[in-house]
């Protein structure tokens, strides 16, 4: 076998070509613990001037390599195991060296580059892929191009991505070619093709297997039945390609010399459909205050708001709490004092810029630039809304004053486009300059990284979004990657102003107040993105949208989205993710939930009596328990606390 552990690396080997970001996905005869580790794929010249392909795990490579700038790269989400290191460094190093994989070029028979240049497979024996590598950056074609400089290859006739090495072994070359030239449609007529297509639609797996069995027949019993040329329409080709990749995606194959284990890849549990609740009402809100005005059941209130939002009549009050202007624990009296203090603070900051003379301004270009930027944007913020419409609208002046005062409040950040979008709905609802300013400050504290000078915060979010999508909707994520859209730039507007441009005023208030609760996890706004994209998945994938069409489609979704449906979907996706058996640490970190490894051992839960009918979906409530559990299709969802349940009743 060609791929063998290498105990010691000959010192005079020379790297002819190296490529980083290559993950070992499968390798015959290697323990599972060796798989899914990241490394470098090289073409190496041995001492005797023969050449080989060599894969080295990253543990062997020193960190100083700066070629691995992955900032904007497509990052795969194959669960990368964190190796637990034991023993000292030298034994780790030796262990890492033992994990090197080598394939001598004179033994290489075939190789294949598939999945949009994300995967390469190598074979030294016909029909068996010994090694599979995953290219994080989707750039396997570069390796193929270099490899072709060292071996003479021929493409197989029917699979453009499979290459046969022609030089060394003529016998195996013949065999490989015959594989490639096989024709699985033995009966010739187009009826067969259409039957095939029909069957694919009805029962893709069975049909694929049938096709493979035919292939098998041909291999064993010859190919006499073939007459005439295949005439497969492009539509057929498309369907076949899709079914193939669906099958590939759904299974993974572990091979050893004697047997094969075909596993079904872990899939997400079914998505629960969690209905939205009713909004927090005036009565409930008032009932939540104690006699002096404190709110003690903060988590409960947030749960309620997360479930159903806030009634419009009390928004002006509730938002001040959600945006950290009014602390939950303060009494009415304390809040009064605080308000007075904040009002004075606001006007003193406002005076700072209001008292600037023309001369000062003329010598202060940075201030001048910001002022003109604010003016420009205020004049084009929500002007179609009656509150901001018309010439000389006084509300525009307030909008401008708040933004200018914010420049003085946070001069480092200053004014960045998008901030006027964030402020406009706050002022519209609160109507009061000082309140709007401090609520704006609270909102900005939540999303300040969106406006980083170097846009690092936005880049990180786009990357996190890509990773979440890869977990929650891998098919779509792969499609986007194939269409040059893995950077998720088309979601930039969504994230920068928290969907302000995508929803009506009424709906954005609902969405924002739900997101401000910080429930049910960190970065829930990214799951909102996932929910929207997932519901557009069919359009994006069926139309075979390219880079430009994807951007256009996403931009055109503005004002066509249903906020309640999206919130419900996003919550469903959240529950799917956290109950997935293959949940990765990476996803946990993004969502701010304890990582899989760090999960404390859960004690066996006492059986909860089933209250509902036996359709599998039930709401159980036990007054002694802190949690109310909603069961849906076998998924247990803890929804509200005891107190909130009482409030709901």
């Amino acid at each position: 076998m060609s791929s063998s552990s290498v105990e010691d690396i000959p010192e005079q080997c020379r790297d002819l070509f190296t490529q980083d970001g290559v993950l070992l996905k499968s390798c015959m005869g290697r323990p599972i613990s060796d798989l899914n580790s990241i490394g470098m794929l090289c073409i190496v010249q041995n001492v005797d001037s023969s050449k080989c392909i060599e894969w080295r795990p990253n543990d062997l490579i020193t960190i100083d390599s700066d070629t691995q700038d992955q900032e904007w790269a497509v990052v795969n989400t194959i669960g990368r195991r964190q190796r637990t290191l034991s023993g000292n460094m030298t034994s780790d190093y030796a262990a890492a060296r033992a994990r090197i994989i080598r394939i001598q070029l004179n033994e290489l028979k075939t190789f294949k580059c598939s999945r949009n240049n994300q995967q390469m497979q190598f074979s030294t024996k016909p029909g068996v892929w010994h090694n599979t590598f995953y290219f994080q950056h989707g750039n396997a074609e570069i390796f193929v191009a270099n490899l072709k400089n060292h071996v003479k290859t021929a493409k197989t006739r029917h699979d453009r991505n499979t290459y046969v090495v022609v030089e060394p072994n003529v016998e195996s070359q013949e065999l490989n070619r015959s594989f490639a030239e096989l024709d699985i449609f033995t009966e010739n007529t187009t009826d067969v093709v259409w039957n095939f297509v029909h069957n694919f639609k009805q029962r893709p797996y069975a049909t694929t297997m049938e096709a493979f069995s035919k292939l098998n027949d041909i291999v064993y019993y010859g190919n006499e039945a073939v007459n005439g040329k295949r005439d497969v329409t492009e539509e057929v080709a498309d369907l076949l390609t899709k079914s193939m990749s669906a099958l590939e995606d759904a299974t993974s194959v572990t091979r050893s010399d004697e047997y094969e284990v075909i596993n079904v890849k872990p899939t997400l549990p079914p998505r629960p459909c969690i209905p939205r609740g009713t909004s927090l009402s005036t009565e409930k809100w008032e009932g939540l205050h104690d006699t002096e005005g404190r709110i003690t059941e903060v988590e409960g209130v947030k749960q309620l708001i997360f479930r159903g939002g806030v009634a419009n009549s009390i928004r002006h009050s509730v938002w001040k709490y959600l945006l950290d202007y009014h602390p939950w624990t303060m009494t009415h009296a304390e809040i009064k004092v605080l308000q007075k203090k904040r009002t004075e603070e606001y006007f003193s900051m406002k005076l700072q810029w209001r008292s600037m003379t023309e001369g000062q301004e003329a010598r202060f270009s940075e201030y001048r630039d910001r002022k003109s930027l604010v003016e420009k944007d205020v004049n084009r913020t929500d002007r179609t809304h009656p509150f901001y419409a018309g010439d000389n609208n006084p509300n525009l002046v307030i909008l401008q004053d708040i933004l200018m005062t914010y420049v003085m409040y946070n001069f480092d950040l200053g004014y960045v486009q998008g901030m006027s979008d964030i402020l406009a709905p706050l002022l519209l609802l609160l109507g009061n300059e000082v309140d709007s300013f401090w609520c704006f400050v609270g909102f900005m504290d939540k999303i300040a990284s969106n406006f980083d000078m170097d846009q690092a915060g936005m880049k990180q979010q786009l990357l996190n979004l890509q990773q979440l999508l890869m977990f929650a909707s891998p098919e779509l994520a792969r499609h986007l990657a194939a269409k040059d859209s893995a950077n998720m730039y088309f979601c930039f507007r969504w994230l920068l102003v928290w969907f302000k441009r995508e929803f009506s005023h009424k709906d954005i208030m609902r969405l924002w107040e739900v997101l401000w609760t910080g429930l049910p996890c960190a970065n829930f706004h990214l799951l909102i993105c996932v929910a929207i994209l997932d519901s557009e998945k069919d359009v994006i994938m069926h139309k075979d949208c390219g880079f430009t069409e994807i951007l256009k489609h996403v931009n055109d979704l503005s004002m066509c989205l249903d906020v309640d449906r999206i919130l419900s979907t996003a919550e469903g996706i959240y529950h799917q993710i956290i109950s997935a058996p293959h949940l990765t640490d990476q996803v946990c970190v993004i969502l701010g939930i304890p990582t899989v490894g760090a999960k404390p051992e859960e004690p066996e839960e006492p059986e909860v009596p089933q209250a509902g009918p036996t359709n599998g979906n039930a709401v159980t409530y036990n007054p002694d328990m802190e949690e109310v559990t909603l069961e849906y299709n076998g998924l247990q969802i803890s929804v509200v606390t005891q107190t909130v349940w009482a409030l709901l009743a």
């Binding site: 294949k112 598939s114 029909g127 892929w129 029917h158 699979d159 453009r160 991505n161 499979t162 594989f179 493979f212 497969v232 492009e234 057929v236 080709a237 498309d238 369907l239 076949l240 390609t241 193939m244 990749s245 099958l247 590939e248 299974t251 194959v253 075909i262 630039d369 003109s372 930027l373 420009k376 944007d377 084009r380 913020t381 929500d382 002007r383 419409a389 960045v416 486009q417 998008g418 006027s420 979008d421 406006f451 000078m453 170097d454 846009q455 936005m458 880049k459 950077n487 730039y489 930039f492 507007r493 920068l496 102003v497 441009r501 075979d544 390219g546 430009t548 951007l551 256009k552 931009n555």
Partner: protein, 211 residues
């Protein structure tokens, strides 16, 4: 899918925030003007197919956010653009001075042979003018770029500007085609070939593998 055009040109509008890039694009694509525009966040594009010397030319025009902070995102879209409109506001001195920075930005991020044109927008606002037409012309001569003053509001020279840029791209492309040996369509029509390739499904057998 039947092709409804002979050429596809990707164009880009850049310039400081608030100079009227979106208004120019709206005027050209919809022949309309709206006083209460919203600022552009991220990036968007519009399409208009024009007739140029008997050829159908599909213009895909990209509109970008002007603020410097978003440049890392917007420059990602420079790639592959064949023509760039550099826009300043004649009532805003600073936006005119910044044209030089934008040109440098193009040199760093766009392909070297991209066609360029400078537009001095809002020329209807004569009372507020800070940059004279002569200064615009002078700058254009300095960089050897075509120049025109426009008004998206009054629909002045907007059509002319896009037609001129498109015609220059077409001329350059056809010149390249002639230069590259026989009448084969080689280097010049990259964009077109790329988009063709995108639409074609890959051969079905390319995904067929022995499990």
């Amino acid at each position: 899918m039947a092709k409804t055009y002979d050429y596809l040109f990707k164009l880009l509008l850049i310039g400081d925030s608030g100079v009227g890039k979106t208004s120019i694009l709206f005027r050209f694509s919809e022949d309309a003007f709206n006083i209460s525009f919203i600022s552009t966040i991220g990036i968007d594009f519009k399409i208009r197919t024009i007739d140029l010397d008997g050829k159908k030319v599909k213009l895909q025009i990209w509109d970008t956010a002007g603020q410097e902070r978003f440049r890392t995102i917007t420059t990602a879209y420079y790639r592959g653009s064949m023509g760039i409109m550099l826009v300043y506001d004649v009532t805003n001195e600073k936006s005119f001075e910044n044209i030089k920075n934008w040109i440098r930005n193009i040199e760093e991020n766009a392909s070297a042979d991209v066609e360029k044109m400078i537009l001095g927008n809002k020329c209807d606002l004569d009372a507020k003018r800070q940059v004279s037409k002569e200064r615009g012309e002078q700058l254009a001569i300095e960089y050897q770029i075509k120049f025109v003053e426009t008004s998206a509001k009054d629909s002045l020279n907007v059509e002319y500007a896009f037609y001129t840029l498109a015609r220059d791209i077409k001329a350059k492309m056809e010149k390249k085609q002639e230069a590259s040996n026989p009448p084969g369509n080689r280097s010049g029509v990259h964009q077109l070939k790329d988009s063709d390739r995108q639409r074609k499904p890959t051969s079905w057998l390319s995904r067929c593998s022995l499990l």
